[in-house]
């Protein structure tokens, strides 16, 4: 009976050793062990023994990748980056700032939250501002600016409004990827007449958020049909939600989504859109039951394992084409903003690195994300879709706008707009839906 007693302390030591190994910060850098080449980091100076705390919504593998992307920076500058990711970020950041316990740096998932925190934030240092002027389009800088003061540089980006299709099906049927919205409508009609499958499949079911994929649709059409100025006014409520141009965009979307001949391949009639989960809604594209599916770049992760996402693979995507080409090539999407609650030299050095092309390249190289940073080498994108996204984001002709429902007040953007979409698909006329959403806009 002696051995178990002896084993317990031994096991404890073993566990402790493992723990210590697991917790010690990774100092090896992105390359995997070898000493980092510090020449690229000389601009950031030396800040031995200094710590920068970073707080964001990013967790799990994404967080590990993020930490790997700045490991070399830590090693070369001597700064220790203390990273904390939490799903509760959106509520906690306000609480922490109010309690006088904010992180040094916060990565905001959307501009609305950044604007709400602007009074607590330090304006971005000039070096960061210059980097953003150089590396990002003015659209992006605007989202880090509150009341004329520039606070936060963009970090990564995601792209919405892709139309997913099966290249093999298109080839067999002789269908061409449309270059304009009108062409897309003509193609839709051709597909419906062909009769082999419904042209579109869609699914807006998402628990309490049911309806949101529909808001993406409407936003895409508003931006393409009415143009970025109207889009900005609409999102900022400078024009009412029931403005004729918005209603017109809804009607234009309805030509697809409310037409029983065009939807809902693999699931049923128009209303089945409401009971189809958004993550399953693309499946009929693979099964040959529907031809096209509108969803953001993260749809790439919704396909069953083993599905090849490439121009010559099982599925591929094209960007929802322009309606009025004079209004530019518009895309909607999202991205994070890096803002700071402190302006110490080490925090400024960190901000500068995060806004640089080096960070974008280091992070994108690890896969799964893209950035709108113009200094990003598209060759670093890890998948075909990421490459396409980078090309779209870096194209100087591209007009980029944030997902509008994320920018609207919560009462609209995450409640009445969703509910409006549900009512709309369920048969309520566009005008009436827009009127009721307008009625729910908080009076200020």
């Amino acid at each position: 009976m002696k051995s178990p007693k002896f084993l317990i302390p031994a096991a404890a030591v073993g566990v402790l050793a493992l723990t210590v190994t697991a917790c010690s910060p990774e100092t090896g850098g992105g390359g995997g062990g070898e000493a980092a080449d510090c020449s690229a980091y000389s601009d950031y100076g030396k800040h031995e023994g200094k710590t920068v705390s970073v707080y964001s919504t990013i967790v799990d593998i994404e967080a590990t990748n993020l930490e790997t992307a700045w490991a070399d920076f830590e090693e070369c500058t001597g700064i220790t980056v203390k990273y904390e990711g939490s799903k509760e970020f959106e509520t906690q950041i306000g609480v922490r700032a109010q309690a006088g316990n904010p992180p040094d740096v916060a990565i905001f998932p959307q501009p609305g939250l950044l604007a709400a925190q602007a009074s607590n934030l330090k304006p971005a240092p000039k070096a960061v501002s210059d980097l953003v002027d150089e590396n990002w389009s003015a659209d992006w800088k605007k989202y880090g600016t509150v009341n004329g003061t520039f606070y936060a540089a963009p970090m990564l980006a995601n792209v919405k409004g892709f139309v997913w299709y099966a290249p093999k099906t298109f080839e067999e049927k002789g269908w061409e990827v449309p270059k304009t919205f009108d062409e897309m409508m003509t193609l839709t009609k051709t597909m419906a007449d062909d009769g082999a499958m419904k042209p579109w499949c869609a699914g807006f079911e998402s628990g309490e958020a049911t309806g949101w994929p529909g808001t993406d649709w409407i936003e895409d059409v508003v931006l393409r049909e009415a143009g970025p100025e109207v889009y900005d006014q609409w999102v900022a409520h400078q024009i009412p939600f029931n403005d004729p141009r918005i209603v017109s965009a809804m009607d234009k979307t309805g030509e697809i989504l409310l037409n029983p001949d065009y939807v809902n391949g693999g699931f049923g009639d128009v209303r089945s859109i409401l009971t189809t989960g958004f993550a399953q809604a693309g499946q009929p594209v693979l099964d040959g039951q529907c031809a096209m599916h509108h969803q953001a770049n993260f749809q790439a992760a919704n396909w069953p394992e083993g599905t090849v996402v490439a121009p010559d693979g099982d599925v591929w995507a094209f960007m929802t084409p322009p309606i009025d080409e004079s209004k530019g090539k518009a895309i909607t999407g999202g991205g994070e903003m890096v803002g700071a609650y402190k302006d110490t030299p080490e925090v400024q050095a960190f901000l500068q690195y995060m806004a640089s092309a080096d960070f974008a390249n280091n992070r994108v190289k690890l896969g799964g994300v893209v950035s709108a940073n113009k200094g990003l080498d598209p060759a670093n994108a890890q998948s075909e879709l990421d490459k396409l996204s980078v090309e779209l984001l870096q194209d100087p002709q591209t007009v980029f706008r944030f997902d509008g429902s994320d920018l609207m007040p919560a009462a609209v953007g995450s409640n009445s707009f969703w509910k409006g979409i549900v009512a709309w698909i369920n048969g309520t006329p566009s005008k009436q839906v827009a009127d009721s959403i307008e009625g729910s806009w908080p009076k200020s």
Binding site: E208, F267, D269, R271, S272, V422, S440, P442
Partner: protein
């Protein structure tokens, strides 16, 4: 690991502090002068519970009541929230649905539970038959919601059905139906889920109560020539009245507060929302804490009389005994 260790340490400190405070109170109570010792003892031992009650129950209740009369920014706006609740078509539908739920669920669950309890009483394999009906009780509301959502699943005509009910409909030559989408009957389909869960509860309690009805009474009634229905109506029912009230009120309270089933299955869309679901949506998603609080207040006022009634019936019964 570091994180868990830190938490454990905090828990340890909290428990130690708690023990220290209790010890201190006991010591002080014990040291009190003899003349006032009784009073001090009562206060000393009730105070911790009372303070926790005030902090955890009374204060939030008062705060919520105040919030119910404020707008989204927290400035008082009189009874606007209540006007909204009783005039906006959407909010009125919510109230209507809650009424439908509260009438149908207790009634159906109790009737089915009672009928089942009577029919399987002293039957062969009674235990197994009971367990079968009681089993849904063991499933969480969310779990039940997910299961029934799959049961009600819809695919268009001509496409292979994935939901059991629609597969059956198609098999007998009917059109598939959007169970969760077509108002107003979709509320009924949600209610069926709740009844499915609560019938087991009603059945178990009522079955036990039926077994408690004295055999002599039933036998006497039978000798007097009462038929089975008369026996049931005039002997069994009066004998289990107390249990019936408990079952009805318990289920009614649970139904008034129903949230999980609606949220899981339709999230309150398609005109199926109920007060508890709307309360959550308004307070935490639509950024309208005032409206949420007003709904919470109304819900509280609806539950209150039932709780009072329940307590009174229980007290009366104790007095009879």
């Amino acid at each position: 690991m570091e994180f868990v260790g830190g938490k454990l340490l905090q828990v340890g400190i909290a428990i130690a502090a708690f023990a220290a405070v209790i010890g201190l109170i006991m010591l002080l109570v014990d040291r009190a002068p003899k003349s006032t010792r009784d009073k001090v003892t009562v206060i000393g031992f009730l105070a911790p519970a009372a303070i926790l009650m005030i902090v955890g129950l009374v204060y939030p209740a008062v705060q919520t009541s105040y919030l119910a009369f404020t707008d989204a920014k927290g400035t008082p706006n009189g009874v606007d929230n209540f006007v909204w609740m009783f005039t906006q078509p959407e909010a009125v539908i919510t109230l209507r649905n809650t009424v439908i739920w509260t009438v149908l669920v207790p009634l159906l669950s109790t009737v089915f539970g009672l009928a089942y309890a009577v029919f399987i009483d002293k039957a062969r394999g009674e235990r197994i038959l009971k367990a079968l009906v009681f089993m849904p009780m063991a499933i969480s509301f969310v779990g039940a919601g997910v299961i029934w959502k799959l049961v009600y699943d819809f695919r268009g005509p001509g496409i292979e059905q994935t939901g059991v009910l629609n597969a059956l409909r198609v098999a007998v030559g009917m059109e598939p139906k959007q169970f969760l989408l077509d108002a107003p009957e979709n509320t009924i389909f949600l209610i069926i889920v709740m009844v499915w869960i609560q019938t087991g509860f009603a059945m178990v309690i009522l079955s036990a109560a039926i077994k408690g009805v004295p055999v002599e009474l039933v036998e006497a009634a039978r000798l007097d020539g009462a038929n089975p229905w008369q026996q049931f109506r005039n002997v069994t029912i009066p004998g289990i009245r107390g249990s019936l009230v408990v079952v009805l009120t318990t289920i009614t309270i649970a139904t008034l507060k129903v949230f999980d089933i609606v949220r899981t299955m339709t999230a309150g869309n398609f005109e199926t929302s109920v007060v508890a679901n709307e309360m959550y949506t308004q307070a935490f998603r639509a950024d309208e804490p005032g409206r949420g609080a007003a709904l919470a207040l109304v819900l509280f006022l609806l539950v209150l009389p039932i709780v009072v009634y329940n307590a009174r019936v229980l007290r009366q019964q104790r007095e009879i005994r």
